[in-house]
């Protein structure tokens, strides 16, 4: 009832583990599939091993979380075995990758084997990576193009909300041949310890995730759905089935779940069963939800 085909991948449900969440080891990706995820995205993987920013790298704030991990990762050269382990579970494994330029992106995508690639051009706190490349439509188009020619796997492009016009970045990804866009990555943010005046994060600022950003993400998805022909995958602040439904009504074909996994790894199963009950009750299908808010 919840199954779908997304950029050629078969998903048993539209609920995907978001990048950077329990995504560094094959074992942890596996655990998310046991929790019911219809697909899993890995931690963003780069060219060289990276240890990330110093701690504190994540803090709970009033209505969500702020993090500045700094893209810690073992590099793609050490990562194939984790992907392979995760693929044993039979759900699509999407490799999130990042680089400073098109060459780095395509070096990784040309070597790693995964069911799809998600291009992280949206991390707000990685100097020279992420949103620093993802705010420029020309760069996004070029990177997408080069990855598309390096791999035959579907390519998703993950967008940052920290831009004046997210549609223009989505359109650039589409021109570059992206099979889908993912929105949104975290929102630029900061917290200061008033006892000392120190910014709390080791990196001083970071990205906001969780409940706080849901209304921002919904608006981005709504706008992208109107502007693009390719599917939009929604992410940002989903913590229950109602949030997931809201994203799909805004125009998301599928959704990803990040921060909320911390308190409930089985959230994918929980949302699936509630969503099924809701659809039955309303006598609706997934397709009915899809973009419903645009018809009102």
């Amino acid at each position: 009832m919840l199954s779908l085909s997304l950029t050629g991948l078969k998903l048993k449900n539209p609920l995907i583990l978001a990048a950077g969440i329990m995504g560094t080891t094959g074992g942890s990706l596996k655990r998310a599939t046991e929790g019911g995820a219809g697909g899993v995205v890995t931690k963003s993987i780069g060219v060289e091993p990276k240890s990330g920013h110093s701690n504190p790298s994540m803090v709970e704030v009033d209505c969500g979380y702020m993090n500045a991990m700094g893209l810690p990762n073992p590099s793609y050269k050490n990562f194939q075995k984790e992907i392979d382990l995760a693929r044993e579970c039979g759900v699509p494994v999407i490799a999130s990758i990042f680089g400073a330029n098109a060459d780095e992106f395509s070096e990784i995508a040309g070597t790693l084997h995964a069911d799809a690639f998600e291009l992280n051009v949206s991390c707000p706190h990685a100097c020279g990576y992420g949103a620093q490349v993802g705010s420029d439509p020309a760069l996004v188009e070029e990177i997408t193009k080069s990855v598309k020619s390096a791999t035959t796997a579907p390519v998703w492009v993950k967008l940052t909300p920290n831009v004046t016009d997210i549609k223009s970045i989505g359109l650039a990804a589409q021109r570059g041949g992206a099979d889908a866009v993912v929105a949104i990555n975290t929102v630029r943010a900061m917290a200061i310890d008033i006892e000392s005046g120190y910014p709390i994060l080791g990196n001083k600022f970071g990205g906001l995730s969780g409940k706080a950003i849901k209304p921002i993400a919904i608006k981005c998805v709504y706008d992208l759905y109107e502007a693009l022909q390719i599917p939009v995958i929604g992410v940002g602040g989903i913590s229950d089935w109602k949030d997931a439904v809201e994203f799909m009504m805004a125009g998301a074909r599928a959704v990803q779940i990040g921060s909320a996994v911390g308190n409930n790894i089985n959230i994918f199963n929980d949302i699936s069963s509630c969503m099924e009950a809701f659809l039955e009750d309303k006598v609706w299908t997934l397709d009915d939800l899809y973009g419903m808010a645009h018809k009102k």
Partner: protein, 248 residues
């Protein structure tokens, strides 16, 4: 939660490189749970509580060295408690501590003794001077000791002391992973609990940095039952800050 400001009220030298820092604030931790200790401007690292209002720290690198620079009236930020602590049983409990691993086991011993359990503590250290909380364990039960250099108790590893222990209801263990792995290999897995050490980033069960296979040390642990660990990479390899596998 944001870091709570904790002012240091007393610093006690426990051993050459081990100090206890007492704070003006108490935290309610189940022994085995941990907090994140923020040395502002430097780093934030996980620590067990050795008392209601104190941590006991071994100086091993930049963050712990910076902590050792602090004195009464200085303050740090504390977030927590995080994770799951020890499940405290009754009957005969054996505590196996390696070095600063005694920090969470001392309050555990005191709690358990209060509820009437019989406590045997097996303490290991490189040398006599480094034995931690010996008097606290002695106050609530029997203590047996092993030192690498034989300066006190048996010469050799603390795990050797285990050979004589046949009758116990539960074993609690905290220390270097290689030592804990040896303990796990010697005991009934379902009757043992281990407090693990992995690189902690978020502490919230989200990022996955601390995973032992699919288990999150920061959220599902740091305390795990031996039979859960048996099926994992525990004692085989850990991950460094980058997520690369590193042989134990």
């Amino acid at each position: 939660m944001r870091p709570v400001n904790a002012v240091i009220t007393k610093v006690v030298e426990e051993a050459p490189n081990i100090r206890t820092f007492f704070f003006d604030t108490s935290f309610k931790l189940i022994p085995g749970q941990f907090v994140m200790v923020w040395i502002r401007g430097i780093d934030e690292v996980p620590m067990a509580f050795s008392y209601d209002n104190a941590i006991t720290v071994q100086k091993v690198g930049p963050a712990t060295s910076a902590l050792f620079e602090l004195d009464e009236c200085d303050s740090i930020g504390i977030r927590g408690p995080f994770g799951k602590g020890f499940d405290i049983k009754t009957g005969h409990l054996i505590l196996v501590a390696g070095g600063v691993g005694a920090a969470p086991l001392a309050p555990l011993a005191e709690n358990a003794a209060m509820s009437g359990a019989k406590i045997t503590a097996l303490l290991g250290a490189k040398t006599k001077d480094e034995l931690l909380f010996r008097e606290r364990f002695e106050a609530v039960g029997e203590v047996r000791i092993a030192t690498d250099d034989g300066s006190e108790g048996k010469q050799g590893y603390v795990t050797q002391l285990l050979e004589d222990e046949k009758n116990y209801d539960q074993i609690y263990c905290c220390g270097p992973e290689i030592m804990m792995k040896k303990v796990l290999d010697k005991v009934t897995p379902s009757k043992s609990q281990f407090s693990l050490h992995r690189y902690i980033k978020c502490g919230l069960g989200i990022c996955g940095a601390c995973c032992v296979d699919g288990l999150r040390v920061c959220k599902d642990g740091p305390v795990f039952s031996g039979d859960v660990l048996k099926k994992t990479e525990f004692g085989v390899y850990r991950r460094n800050e980058c997520g690369e596998r590193v042989k134990i």
